[in-house]
Amino acid sequence: MTDLNAETLASERRALLEYVTAVRRALADLRPTEMRATHLPSAMTEIGLIVETTEGAANQIMQAAEEIMGQPLEVPQDAYRELVESRCLSVMEACAFQDLAGQRISKVVEMLLKFENHIGGLAEVLSESGEVEDAPVEQPQPAEGAVYLNGPTAPGEGVDQDEIDRLFS
């Protein structure tokens, strides 16, 4: 082996070591164990609680509305007013869900932003080598006749009720 080859080899070895070290550092920054053990379960708990909170609030509001609507016509005016005021207060109290849900969502968003930063660091290290590309996304093949459910669409996506009405007219 010539001196030149040995020098090139040593240089490539150094570059490779630096690359592996950087990847390991970026992976360590991701804290995958902590992410799996703490952050993701915590995010899922928060989301579950959001569902629970909003459901509780919706039920409280509906309960109030049902009680008001269920009053017989012959209820004295004062009693009716007292009931309406008390149920209106209950509705206002229930609306606190927005604050609670907002705070929980902020916590989840914060966690996702942190994760995004770490993933960004890893992607930067990988893309610097110019050799690692994202794996192709596997598109699940739907069974014949199957339609995927995507849940509520964002504003501007999907069709609105008027368009559906035209389809059914």
Binding site: E55, A58, N59, M62, A65, E66, M69, G145, V147, L149, N150, G151, P152, T153, E157, G158, V159, D160, Q161, I164, L167, F168
Partner: protein
């Protein structure tokens, strides 16, 4: 001919709040004979057990394991319930979903969230004025 307020209606949704909302809206419209199922499988069992007991099904789509679309297909596949009026009430608002429901034989399609006026309009479109 006006439809009877005694029309037996089966509402299907895995969210109890939605069941409560739909029931409340139907009751405000004057309907008195409302039954509930909290998932597609239960609804299917109820319909199979009493195929002639319902005059209208109002179902959510996004339920597991039996979806609203599965329920619709099963209802249409059964000769005893093939003509049973079926309205889908769902947040699934993509064209392919609407087309799939239409092809499966849904009578009408309502996107969540919706108002009582929309519900009334769709029931009228399927069953006639009331």
């Amino acid at each position: 001919m006006a439809i009877s307020k005694d029309l037996p209606i089966l509402i299907v949704d895995d969210y109890k709040t939605m069941l409560r909302i739909v029931r409340g809206l139907l009751q405000q419209l004057g309907f008195r004979n409302i039954e509930e199922a909290t998932d597609g499988a239960s609804a299917l069992a109820m319909i199979k057990e009493r195929p002639h007991s319902y005059g209208l099904i109002i179902s959510d789509w996004n339920m597991q394991p039996v979806t609203g679309l599965d329920l619709l297909k099963q209802v249409r596949a059964n000769a005893q319930t093939a003509e049973l009026p079926f309205i889908m009430v769902t947040a699934e608002a993509r064209t392919e979903n609407v087309v799939a429901a239409r092809q499966a034989g849904v009578n009408n399609y309502i996107i969540k969230p919706f108002t009582q006026a929309v519900l009334k309009q769709k029931i009228s479109a399927v069953l006639g004025e009331f």
